[in-house]
């Protein structure tokens, strides 16, 4: 479970990214974060991954109180989270297999487990025939599949995606979203997006942000601003 309680984030220059935001996300829930650019979607995601810390309020992710002053479990927390970026962030000097395997290597998984898990995950995202291909030979859609595979492999319970379809054409976007659909109910999925069609079509929980505040929390919602 992810709990944000009265979370505010003010940057040193004075702009407020989040203002007194509170919400809860249950385990294995599928949630869309929507809102205009600058509404605070990315700030929420970055606070979950501990890239930025709130100015006030508390954030609890599973058993971790990440706002506790003595919190020192950042690495363990991050090992529970899979991240997908708009610009994919794949490692250009590693092939598809190695890009996905890196998620397990950082947690010191053994070689046989890495081999089995990577093959299984590449099958899930439809890249099983391209495991030895390098990123330069892949399309944007395929690169995002690699990023998704890297995010979901292993025991990562929470998947957060920041505009995962932002750089993709509509058809590829749908293909990517189908992968998320496959993961529904197995992992907590939080997707920040601008894609109206996708949000409306999925009919999942939608948190609508505006100027750093949650203005709507719809259990089965569509894209409304």
């Amino acid at each position: 479970m992810i709990t944000f309680d009265k979370v505010t984030k003010k940057f040193p220059l004075g702009n407020t990214a989040l203002n007194d935001v509170s919400f809860e996300i249950d385990d294995n829930q599928f949630v869309f974060l929507v809102g205009q650019s600058g509404a605070g979607k990315t700030s929420i995601l970055k606070m979950i991954t501990q890239e930025i810390k709130p100015t006030s309020g508390s954030i609890i992710i599973d058993d971790f109180d990440v706002t506790d002053k003595n919190f020192s479990q950042t690495i363990n927390l991050r090992r529970k989270i899979g991240i997908i970026f708009q610009d994919f962030k794949v490692l250009v000097d590693k092939n598809v297999f190695e890009n996905v395997a890196v998620s397990l290597k950082v947690i010191d998984a053994d070689q046989s487990e890495i081999k089995t898990e990577v093959k299984k995950t590449l099958e899930l995202v439809g890249l099983s025939k391209k495991e030895f291909v390098f990123p330069v030979q892949l399309s944007a859609g395929e690169l995002q599949r690699v990023a998704i595979a890297r995010a979901v492999i292993g025991d990562r319970d929470i998947i957060i995606a920041d505009e995962p379809t932002g750089n993709l054409d509509p058809k590829t976007s749908w293909d990517i979203m189908k992968i998320f659909k496959k993961l529904e109910g197995k992992k907590t999925i939080i997707i920040a997006t601008h894609n109206t069609d996708i949000v409306n079509s999925f009919q999942k929980r939608v948190l609508v942000l505006k100027e750093g505040k949650i203005i709507k929390d719809q259990r089965k919602g569509g894209y409304e601003l």
Binding site: T49, I75, R78, R79, G82, L91, R150
Partner: protein
């Protein structure tokens, strides 16, 4: 190993520059290290020779000589004193000239003076001891290698101080240059490091490839330095043998264990190689540690 090669291949100029700077540092360090070792070995060797020899007049009573000996021993500046009586001196003379009967016939024990061979605790006490002896009565002559000892002391101190300054500069320079080189390499992988941090990699996991590559370069540079050094030393070995003729052994204390440095031997070469490799590894590790630090604050 494969990853190290890949990294070197992808940034060959940075890797080569890092290697060159490491080689330069290690080779100079090696020369300084061996030069200082030989200087200390020579000092130790000189300390095993009688440093002050005092010859008494022929008429001097043994009691008088023993009095001087006891006073010197109680001064705390003397390590050992050997008394050479007239008869001892004659025996030494006989031994030295056993092949020359004519010289043996001309000399008897009576004309040889009794003497004391004095070994000081530190060479700096020698002038003081010599001055003390000159003030005693019944002294015929005080001999000590003042000039050589003084020069060697001054030389050793000068080289040690200069080496320390030069050595510190070398370390600083090589660490700064190496850090910069590694920073160039890491800058190309900044987004990769950020990603690794976000998916839960430990700092050690991120640092490991850079440290391993630096260690590899450090080891290669120390191997090359040692190879060139060994070749030069072995090439000039005949010259060294004639130059150090008469000196059978030179040794220095390493953690209370005597290490023989002359004649050249495998153990000495081994110690030099291990020391220079360790030094290279330390410089390389420190530089890569500093360089990676900058990118680990995600």
């Amino acid at each position: 190993m494969k990853e190290i090669w890949t990294s070197i291949r992808r940034t060959p100029y940075q890797s080569f520059s890092a290697f060159l700077i490491l080689f330069f540092t290690l080779f100079l360090t090696l020369i300084l290290f061996v030069s200082l070792t030989f200087l200390y070995g020579t000092l130790n060797y000189l300390e095993t020779k009688p440093q002050v020899t005092v010859y008494f007049q022929n008429k001097t009573e043994e009691n008088q000589i023993f009095k001087v000996r006891d006073e010197l021993m109680s001064s705390g500046k003397v390590l050992n004193i050997k008394y050479i009586s007239k008869n001892d001196a004659f025996n030494i003379y006989k031994q030295l000239n056993k092949d020359n009967p004519l010289l043996l016939e001309m000399v008897s024990a009576n004309i040889l003076p009794p003497s004391l061979e004095i070994y000081a605790k530190k060479p700096i006490f020698l002038p003081e001891i010599a001055e003390y002896l000159k003030k005693q009565g019944d002294i015929d002559e005080v001999q000590y290698e003042k000039d050589i000892i003084d020069k060697l002391l001054v030389l050793t101190n000068t080289i040690r101080t200069s080496a320390l300054i030069f050595f510190s500069y070398l370390i600083l320079m090589s660490i700064v240059v190496l850090t910069t080189m590694i920073l160039f390499k890491i800058a190309l992988k900044e987004s990769e490091i950020t990603l690794l941090k976000l998916i839960g990699a430990t700092n050690f996991y991120i640092r490991k490839p850079y440290i391993l590559e630096s260690l590899f370069l450090g080891f290669s540079a120390s191997l090359l330095s040692f190879g060139i050094f060994s070749f030069v030393v072995l090439y000039f070995n005949p010259f060294l043998q004639s130059y150090l003729k008469g000196i059978t052994t030179l040794s220095v204390d390493v953690f209370n264990y005597p290490l023989t440095i002359w004649p050249l031997n495998y153990i000495f070469f081994g110690v030099v190689f291990i020391s220079i490799s360790l030094f290279g590894a330390i410089i390389a590790s420190v530089a890569s540690y500093i360089a990676t630090n900058k990118y680990l604050k995600v």
